[in-house]
Structures are given as C-alpha cells and as structure tokens.
C-alpha cells in the first residue's frame, strides 16, 4: 500500500494505492481454465489523528489495485493519517502518513 498526503491550507489531500487483485469470481485462470475465486477488499477505514473520517464498504467491482482519493479538513503539520483495509479472506493491511 502507498499513501501520499499533502497539506493544502488546512485540507489534507490524501491519495492511497492498495495492492490487491480484486478478483470478481468471474475470471478464469488462462492456464488451468478454473475459476479464480472471489477475493476483494471489502472494508477501508481512514483515520485522522486516530479519529475515523472515512469508513468504506466495497464490492469486487472496485478496480484491481484500488485507488482512492479523499480530503480531510482541519488538518495541520504533524497530524497522522492512517488507512486500513480488510478483504473477504480476512487479510488486512495498514499504512500511516504524517503531514508536513
């Protein structure tokens, strides 16, 4: 996962790229011909200094290696922004950025 958080005045512009196949369960393996099972990030939570600002639920129809951009008000240098995701297989990831 990668994050870029940029302060523009008192608004933090946050761009996040997650690395995940986001399998729809409809695709076949080109070699074996077998269906590749459904596998997707279904929950994403962003926090600002520990307080949840965005709580997202996703389907498998979010693009592979999901990108999301959001903006947090009332931000200042030193503030911490975290993003957590969890997929339908229970895998999780987390990342943190500090504003400067």
């Amino acid at each position: 996962m990668k994050i870029r958080a940029q302060l523009q005045g008192d608004v933090a512009d946050v761009k996040v790229l997650m690395f995940h196949p986001m399998e729809t369960g409809l695709r076949k393996d080109p070699v074996t011909g077998e269906i590749i099972p459904l596998h997707f990030i279904r929950r994403v939570i962003a926090t600002h200094n520990g307080k949840t600002v965005m709580d997202a639920q996703w389907s498998q129809a979010v693009s592979k290696n999901p990108f999301v951009n959001f903006r947090i008000r009332g931000a200042k240098p030193g503030d911490k922004i975290t993003v957590n995701w969890e997929d339908n297989a229970g895998e999780k990831a987390s990342i943190e950025a500090t504003l400067n």
Binding site: R43, I45, M54, F67, N84, E86
Partner: protein, 163 residues
C-alpha cells in the same frame, strides 16, 4: 510531465504513473500489516452488495425514493475503453452529507461502494471502478435521511468483470 499540479485529474494520473513506475516520488509511506482492525467486516452490507438488480440494491440501503440533484456532482468518462478501470469522482454540495453510494446499473451486482463520510472529511471521493458493460453510473448521497442522486451514462468498449 514531471511537474506536480496541486489537484485534479492530471495530478492523480501523475501520481498513479509514478507509483506504477516505482519512481522516487516524494511520498510518505510505510509498510502495512501493522495492526489488526476490530471486527470491521461485521458491518459489510451483504444484502445490498449481493443484490443482482438495481431496485433490490436500492431497497436494501433504504433508498425508497431519491431526489435528482445538481448538487451531487459526478465526473466519469463518457467512453471507457477499458471497463476494468473507470475513474469516478464524486463531490457533494448537499449539507451534512453522511454517505456516498456508487452503483454501476448493469453490473452483475450493481452496488460498487459505500463511503461513510464522518465529520472532518470533505464530501468528495475519487476512485476507479469496474464496469461489465455500458451503463449508467449512479451516485446516491444520503443526507439528513434523504437520498439525492446523479447519474452518468458510460459507454464501455471492453467489459471489466470477467475475461
């Protein structure tokens, strides 16, 4: 091409390209897998996401009636060559926006994403979605118990669900 505009599509594209190339972009990042989250998955709206037709998906989020509004701004391409990556940008000017819902009407399951907007977050989301075929993208905004909607037709050249 290496300039860095303050915001907007070119900035995002630049960012994505930089990530894809693995260039030494000035980014603050750290490796993941740091801490577990507390049983978040319990709140995933299975009924709404599993719905196979739009009407059922709308029903299961409680959107019995919706109001068309130019205060919900939806930016998406008119033609998407690749249905696997359709950029969608949503801005709500409706006061007290609580939730933003994204649908692709003709996808096998129309509901794509739900974003709960807590205090402190601008009612703005930009992301990329998959579309199985040409259809409307439909964005609902929930504010003070009411639902507001904006739609845009997107023509998909190559579908992005199977393959």
């Amino acid at each position: 091409m290496k300039t860095q505009p303050p915001s907007g599509k070119s900035s995002r594209r630049e960012f994505s390209r930089a990530l894809a190339l693995g260039s030494a972009y000035v980014a603050t990042f750290a490796a993941g897998w740091l801490r577990p989250f507390q049983s978040l998955a319990a709140e995933w709206n299975k009924t709404a996401f599993d719905a196979k037709v739009l009407a059922d998906a709308l029903k299961s989020i409680g959107a019995a009636s919706v109001i068309e509004s130019d205060q919900v701004q939806l930016k998406a391409p008119e033609i998407a060559e690749n249905g696997a990556i359709v950029p969608v940008e949503i801005t709500s000017r409706i006061p007290d926006t609580q939730t933003i819902y994204v649908f692709a009407d003709k996808n096998p399951q129309p509901l794509v994403a739900i974003f709960d907007i807590a205090a402190g977050l601008e009612p703005f989301i930009s992301t990329r979605i998959k579309m199985g075929e040409s259809s409307k993208i439909r964005v609902l905004v929930k504010a003070a118990g009411k639902f507001y909607v904006a739609t845009q037709e997107v023509k998909v050249t190559i579908g992005g669900c199977g393959g």
